[in-house]
């Protein structure tokens, strides 16, 4: 294949393959901001009662100093984070708010990892930096008020989503690579069981599922867990170049994160939040019903309602910063766990929708097999080929 063909393929992947609408991005922006507010504000508050003897940062911003960061710095950074998240939620100076949110999360985390332990929640910090250029402030935002109404309903290619997919792919691949090169494929060693036992017996995370599973001395159970997890993580780097494969693997990953929560009591919410960028929120079942309900109820008073909600949220944030308690404590349910559960619901729904659409969207497989050239000439076929759900596919052909 010559160079220009490769260039076309890369171009297509970057600018056309990951398609989304302005509305979907806006809904994601709002959900992202709310998730981070209720799970990350404030962050690293425990640093002020950490002894200097535990100061042992990895190569990072924190390692440029020889002492723990002062409490005032951490508080100041958290105040700025809360402010940038509220701006992001409102869609006010969205690009600036996105970049500020990402950079502040990276900075606060850098100090939070001065003990030498890195939590690998990098995706929650990189997502707003990448999405800052996606136009996720074009709808349901203060930025959109008074501007010429942009087309927020037609799916468009988004290089930001392609980049985010690649970043997720690289991140997951590194985990799979470490496993591959440290014996996880060795049939005589059950690494999943070993790590589960450390988590249970040494760290003290006693989960019901771990207690049951650790009683099993089953080659097939433990070895298949080693292989499935490693192959899934390695597969992400390849899947990042195909939206359908990527979305399928993200759905599988949501189940994986649920399993990690139930077995290890590790709620890896940051990843699931990042995966949420690939959901077509406006084509979910009942999304139009919910939107109509909201429009009818708040047609006249939506500005007042939104203002009251924002003031309430701001007061909660101030209370959280003053008391040092996580915002999540003011939520009626554990937000991080709810995100993981929602990820599973969306993931299973996506897989079910794709399974049911196989054989009914007859043209789609043939078009993809014949190569991407035909698809690129006809935008309608592009939308059909890459529609995440059958409902959206039907909508684009009407």
């Amino acid at each position: 294949m010559n160079l220009s063909r490769w260039t076309q393929k890369i171009d297509f992947w970057m600018f056309e393959s990951y398609r989304t609408t302005g509305k979907d991005l806006a809904v994601y922006r709002i959900l992202f901001a709310l998730c981070v507010i209720f799970t990350r504000v404030p962050s690293a508050g425990w640093l002020h009662y950490t002894p200097q003897a535990f100061f042992s940062p990895p190569p990072s911003l924190a390692a440029l100093s020889t002492t723990l960061p002062p409490e005032s710095l951490i508080i100041g950074l958290n105040v700025l984070l809360a402010l940038s998240l509220q701006m992001l939620l409102l869609g006010y100076r969205t690009q600036l708010a996105s970049l500020a949110t990402g950079l502040l999360l990276l900075t606060i985390n850098s100090f939070g990892y001065t003990i030498g332990h890195i939590n690998h929640d990098i995706l929650i910090a990189l997502t707003p930096v990448i999405m800052a250029f996606s136009g996720w402030g074009r709808a349901y935002s203060l930025d959109a008020l008074g501007k010429v109404k942009a087309d927020i309903d037609t799916p468009e290619g988004s290089w930001c989503l392609a980049l985010l997919a690649l970043v997720i792919g690289i991140a997951m691949f590194t985990a799979g690579w470490v496993k591959l090169t440290s014996g996880w494929f060795n049939p005589r060693i059950h690494s999943t069981m070993g790590h589960l036992l450390i988590n249970y017996a040494v760290i003290g995370r006693h989960t019901w599922l771990a207690e049951q599973l650790l009683q099993f001395d089953s080659f097939w159970l433990w070895e298949s867990a080693d292989w499935i997890v490693t192959i899934m993580e390695l597969g992400f780097l390849v899947a990042a170049f195909n939206p359908r494969w990527m979305k399928f693997l993200l759905a599988v990953a949501c189940l994986f994160h649920l399993g990690v929560w139930l077995m290890y009591d590790i709620v890896f919410m940051p990843n699931v939040v990042a995966y949420g960028a690939f959901v077509s929120y406006t084509s979910l079942p009942f999304s139009e019903t919910v939107a109509d309900f909201v429009r009818r109820r708040f047609r006249i008073a939506w500005q007042t309602t939104a203002a009251v909600a924002m003031v309430g949220l701001a007061l909660l944030i101030v209370a959280a910063l003053v008391t040092g308690k996580q915002m999540g404590m003011y939520a009626p349910f554990p937000v991080d766990r709810a995100v993981v559960v929602l990820g599973v619901v969306f993931g299973c729904g996506y897989v079910a929708a794709r399974a049911s659409s196989l054989g009914t969207a007859n043209a789609e497989p043939a078009l993809l097999k014949s190569g991407s050239r035909e698809i690129r000439r006809d935008p309608a076929l592009v939308s059909l080929a890459h529609a995440p759900t059958l409902a959206q596919a039907v909508r684009h052909t009407v």
């Binding site: 950490t50 002894p51 200097q52 003897a53 535990f54 100061f55 042992s56 940062p57 990895p58 190569p59 990072s60 924190a62 390692a63 440029l64 100093s65 020889t66 985390n109 850098s110 990892y113 001065t114 003990i115 030498g116 332990h117 890195i118 690998h120 990098i122 910090a125 990189l126 690289i170 991140a171 997951m172 590194t174 985990a175 690579w177 470490v178 496993k179 440290s182 014996g183 005589r188 060693i189 059950h190 690494s191 999943t192 069981m193 070993g194 790590h195 589960l196 036992l197 450390i198 017996a201 040494v202 760290i203 003290g204 995370r205 650790l214 009683q215 001395d217 993580e233 590790i266 990843n271």
Partner: protein
């Protein structure tokens, strides 16, 4: 870079859970665990788990703290002040790099650790004066026998930190 300096932050990486997690080819799993024994000047020693000792700090950090700062020192060494061993260009570029882990017995770190343990002693043993804290390590071996998981435990060294040491 990762091999020389350690994993940096930020970095596009996910937790790898390298290695077997202590699982051996003979079907046993060997892990290291600790107990924190607070020995009062009078009365019975009180024993606490890793989680109880480090309770104020996020649980995800507990293992790193235990393995980095609470392990027994090299043979023949005691927890008393010594000079920094962090020399080289990497420590000029990153002055704080791995400071707590590599320089566990510098005067500042000894004082900080002792102070922190005194504070923990006040919270965990409020009704006594603690003379020293012994971080006792064990090598635990788990194996499946007759459908159940069994455990054997052997001592694997200890770190003793005297809380009564004060500079004149």
């Amino acid at each position: 870079m990762v091999q020389v300096l350690g994993e940096p932050y930020p970095g596009i990486m996910m937790p790898g859970f390298p290695g077997s997690g202590g699982y051996h080819e003979d079907g046993t799993v060997r892990v290291r665990s600790l107990e924190a024994v607070f020995v009062p000047t009078a009365g019975e020693p009180r024993t606490f788990s890793q989680q109880e000792l480090l309770g104020d700090l996020p649980i995800c950090m507990h293992n790193t703290i235990a393995e980095s700062f609470l392990t027994p020192l090299a043979e023949g060494r005691t927890f008393e002040e010594s000079a920094s061993i962090r020399t080289g260009i990497r420590f000029r570029l990153f002055p704080g790099l791995h400071a707590g882990q590599l320089d566990r017995t510098t005067p500042e770190n000894v004082a900080s650790m002792t102070s922190w343990l005194r504070d923990r002693a006040r919270k965990l043993v409020p009704d006594g004066t603690v003379d020293r804290v012994e971080i006792r390590w064990f090598e635990e071996t788990y194996r499946h026998e007759h459908g159940r998981l069994t455990k054997e435990r052997e001592p694997a060294g200890s770190l003793v930190i005297r809380l009564g040491v004060t500079k004149p």
